[in-house]
């Protein structure tokens, strides 16, 4: 009885002491921090860690980085930054500006490596309770590397306070990791069950570790099963990513080729200067950006109609001055327009310099859409894909629903008959060529967001554009879109096996062979339209 009494008394005493130390935690900690003994400071850090408030956080941070001082006279803590020979100080607790103070009046709270280590653990623990969910997530992910069963209790308490789903997910993973470290197969099995299906890269590493020899047989089996499960998910997302890259490349190809599908496919004009019309569109974007440097986001939207008009105008000039004399002589058109393309390239070199011009992407074009830890889609490529579809839809409507489209189709099928019916063929030629050229300019706006804007921009796309049109079937807008997307996807799926250049060579070879087999492309014109 007596013994029990004594024990409970001691216990109460301890409890009281403990409470006391927590209650005057900061004061005691501050006192200890001014001590010259590192052991005392270590205790102080422990006390500060228990308070878990913002002041302690900033105090410890300053201490680790070495600008925490205290005034010798009144032991007041200050953050000091050196300015000349004096220090510029602010109060560490209240943030009050204390002005310049002589170096001799203050003393640094010095730290050694052991203390630094202790502080960094404490700070990362603070981060677990930070107000910002993304910082909490990083703090939790840091725990993954050295998870141990000892952390389980702490994880439980964090989990109760947590509400953000991503952080909860990460906590679950760390919990499972900690359980994996325990020697108990039962805990390990349940941990594997939790981890199954998670795509975090470190999960795969842990599971692979568990499936290696030296572990319990059933644990190994379960781990192996989830490894293969995750692997198959990874490969599915890998393919999805390649598919997206392919669609993106394809949309770029289709965008570059759609203008050509009008001038070459519908009018039968071989326009080798098509690439340079794209280039003019890209340079228009650049000029518009120079004109409105404070509104980059808006300048891109302004550039779309501007590029259309500029390229259309250049196209109309080309049509009036050269091409109209060469209708019905495709090979000669090819040579003359090639001359024009050289001319335009050199003109751009003389005006803008031969170097690439920088075109800034607006904010809403940069960054990426994170779908999960394996799959992210960059916004600029996503927008260009939808932009390509929009342009295509617009063009399709013009060709099928407007009178211009009707006239264009009439003239491409039978020029004399169309003229006999009262279609102004020359006017339609001008409009069609302007339309195709303008679309090329709009493609240039899109391209300026993903490649360098320079005098050689057009040359890089001209062969590809012709390939897309020929492969899709000349005179068929749908064919152009589908062939562009197909070629993009095929190229991107070949790329991991062969490398980018060889993939391109193979795609070209494939088209050459395909054209031998079906000279009219994937979607040949039928009936009277086909000659």
């Amino acid at each position: 009885m007596y013994v029990i009494f004594i024990r409970s008394f001691v216990f109460l005493l301890l409890l009281f002491n403990l409470n006391q130390s927590i209650a005057n935690g900061p004061e005691q900690a501050f006192k200890l921090l001014t001590s010259s003994s590192f052991d005392d400071k270590s205790i102080a850090i422990g006390l500060l860690a228990q308070t878990a408030d913002a002041t302690s956080y900033s105090l410890l941070n300053a201490m680790a980085q070495g600008y925490l001082y205290y005034v010798k006279k009144n032991n007041r803590f200050v953050l000091a930054k050196k300015q000349g020979i004096k220090f510029h100080m602010t109060d560490a607790l209240t943030g009050e500006d204390l002005g310049l103070v002589s170096k001799r009046k203050v003393k640094k709270v010095s730290v050694n490596n052991k203390l630094r280590g202790q502080i960094s653990t404490v700070i990362s623990n603070f981060k677990l309770f930070h107000a910002d969910a993304s910082i909490r997530l990083i703090a939790v992910e840091k725990l993954m590397a050295n998870a141990s069963p000892k952390m389980l209790a702490q994880l439980q308490t964090i989990r109760l306070k947590e509400s953000d789903p991503d952080v909860l997910d990460a906590i679950d993973i760390v919990t499972a990791f900690s359980q994996l470290e325990s020697a108990n197969p039962k805990h390990q099995l349940s941990a594997i069950e939790i981890l199954d299906g998670h795509l975090n890269p470190s999960v795969l590493i842990q599971l692979k570790k568990m499936s290696s020899p030296g572990n319990n047989a059933s644990v190994r089996l379960a781990a192996k099963k989830s490894v293969s499960n995750i692997d198959s998910k990874v490969s599915i997302f890998g393919h999805l990513e390649t598919l997206f890259f392919g669609l993106s490349l394809g949309s770029i190809l289709a965008l570059a080729a759609i203008g050509l599908a009008i001038t070459f496919g519908v009018m039968g004009v071989i326009n080798m200067a098509h690439g340079e019309l794209i280039m003019i569109g890209a340079y228009t974007t650049y000029v518009i950006q120079l004109l409105m440097p404070n509104h980059i986001g808006a300048s891109l939207l302004v550039a779309i109609p501007a590029a259309f008009l500029v390229s259309a105008l250049v196209g109309i000039i080309i049509e009036r001055c050269v091409i109209r004399f060469l209708y019905g002589r495709p090979l000669e058109t090819l040579l003359a327009t090639f001359g024009i393309s050289l001319f335009l390239q050199q003109a751009v070199r003389s005006i803008f310099s031969p170097l690439n011009r920088p075109v800034v992407s607006p904010e809403w074009m940069s960054g990426s859409l994170q779908i999960n830890s394996l799959l992210s889609i960059t916004y600029n490529r996503l927008y260009i894909f939808f932009f390509c579809l929009a342009i295509f839809a617009l063009l399709y409507l013009i060709m099928t629903k407007t009178s211009l489209g009707l006239h264009v189709r009439a003239i491409s099928q039978n020029r004399p008959m169309a003229r006999a019916m009262g279609v102004r063929s020359q006017w339609v030629d001008v409009m069609t060529f302007g339309l195709g050229s303008g679309i090329a300019g709009v493609a240039g706006v899109a391209l300026s967001q993903i490649t360098n804007v320079g005098p050689n921009l057009g040359q890089a796309y001209i062969v590809d554009s012709f390939m897309v049109v020929v492969f899709g079937g000349v005179g068929n807008l749908w064919g152009t879109l589908i062939s562009g997307l197909t070629l993009g996807i095929v190229g991107k799926f070949l790329e991991p096996e062969t490398g980018a250049v060889l993939a391109k060579v193979l795609v070209l070879l494939f088209i050459i062979l395909y054209i031998q087999k079906r000279p009219r492309g994937m979607f040949p014109q039928k009936g009277r339209a086909a000659e």
């Binding site: 080798m272 040579l335 001319f343």
Partner: protein, 369 residues
């Protein structure tokens, strides 16, 4: 034989005589007349002229398929470059252990890429006779296979032009790769010897110039022979109306295939003579613009005349040397303007102005095919 070929070809006789006199003069003036004399021809000029002559041979090859067969090939630069690469490989093997790395077997770029043995397709290129056969075989085979597929499935006109362009573009991309084993981006260069003689010496330069002139003369005679023969008449008929010739019972594909292949071989030989004179071959020779430039030489000089092609090649290349030296800014404007002017104003080229509207050159219809 030669007399028979040149029968009725006054311009050809004049051209061959001029070529002979020029070659003789340049060769002798370089070797015998002392350098400070007014009539001396510098080695630089000899090499430059030699280069022009190989271009002229290339232009004849294009004229043969475009002017007489109606195939606008935008890929003849590829055959030219392939011939050049074959010659380059031979010259590369001749370097031996005098390269930067001093490896007796491997070229510098192979040592650089850490290869430990010669790739199989480099075997045999240390022998000149093997390289000489390959100069004919490599471009010829490519042209034969390409033509066989293309002509059999009746790919014609613009489509064929774009296919040939895609071919040379694909080859350019492929040769840019280091893994291809042809020196990648830098190509083959730093040549030392040809058949044991130093490439730097005057006499070898003159020898190359004379060989180029000889090749051009022989190429001209062969083409003239083909054009005058029954084969040539059929090919002109194919150019003017392919379907009609087919319905008359001719195997149009075969005629096209043989002439196309022969033309590719000529281009390959031109390339092989070109490389030792300029001292380098790299993938940019495959670039589509080079092939299109050849077509402009032919268009400027006059299609379906052979001599016009030679004239065009010489004029454009002389202008190129002059402009790129004197006004580099203007050259592309001038070349671009030339393309437009020739097609719009002089579709029959320079020689077209001088020739009568005879029955042999019904170019009006060529343009439409």
């Amino acid at each position: 034989m030669i007399r028979k070929i040149l029968n009725n070809d006054l311009h050809g006789k004049i051209f061959l005589s001029l070529l002979f006199i020029l070659t003789l003069y340049v060769a002798l003036a370089n070797l015998l007349i002392p350098p400070d004399h007014l009539l001396h021809v510098s080695t630089y000029t000899v090499t430059l002229l030699g280069k022009y002559l190989t271009y002229a041979l290339l232009a004849i090859a294009v004229d043969l398929v475009w002017g007489y067969l109606g195939i606008l090939s935008l890929g003849h630069g590829a055959f030219f470059a392939l011939g050049g690469y074959v010659m380059g490989m031979y010259l590369m093997r001749q370097v031996g252990d005098r390269g930067v790395y001093g490896n007796p077997l491997l070229a510098d770029f192979m040592v650089f890429l850490n290869w430990d043995s010669l790739p199989w397709f480099w075997l045999g290129f240390d022998q000149f006779w093997f390289a000489a056969i390959m100069i004919i075989l490599v471009p010829g085979t490519l042209a034969f296979v390409f033509g066989w597929f293309a002509f059999r499935s009746r790919v014609t006109g613009v489509y064929l032009s774009i296919m040939t362009q895609a071919m040379t573009y694909a080859l350019m991309l492929a040769f840019f790769r280091n893994e291809m084993g042809f020196g990648g981006n830098n190509g083959l260069t730093d040549f030392k010897d040809l058949l044991g003689f130093s490439l730097q010496s005057n006499s070898v330069r003159v020898g190359l110039f004379v060989s180029s002139a000889l090749a051009l003369a022989l190429g001209y005679l062969c083409c003239r022979y083909i054009v005058n023969s029954k084969l040539g008449r059929v090919s002109i008929a194919v150019r003017d109306s392919e379907t009609r010739v087919r319905f008359l019972g001719y195997q149009v594909d075969h005629f096209k295939l043989w002439i196309f292949t022969f033309s590719a071989v000529l281009a390959g030989i031109a390339g092989a003579l070109y490389v030792p004179q300029v001292g380098i071959i790299n993938p940019s020779e495959f670039s589509p613009i080079n092939s299109i430039e050849i077509v402009v030489w032919v268009a400027l000089g006059g299609r379906a005349t052979l001599l016009g092609a030679i004239l065009g090649a010489l004029i454009v290349n002389y202008a190129k040397t002059y402009f790129t030296g004197a006004f580099p800014e203007i050259w592309l404007f001038a070349l671009g303007g030339l393309f437009i002017a020739v097609t719009l104003l002089a579709p029959r080229g320079i020689l077209g102005f001088f020739q009568k509207q005879d029955q042999q050159n019904p170019l009006k219809e060529v343009a439409e095919k």
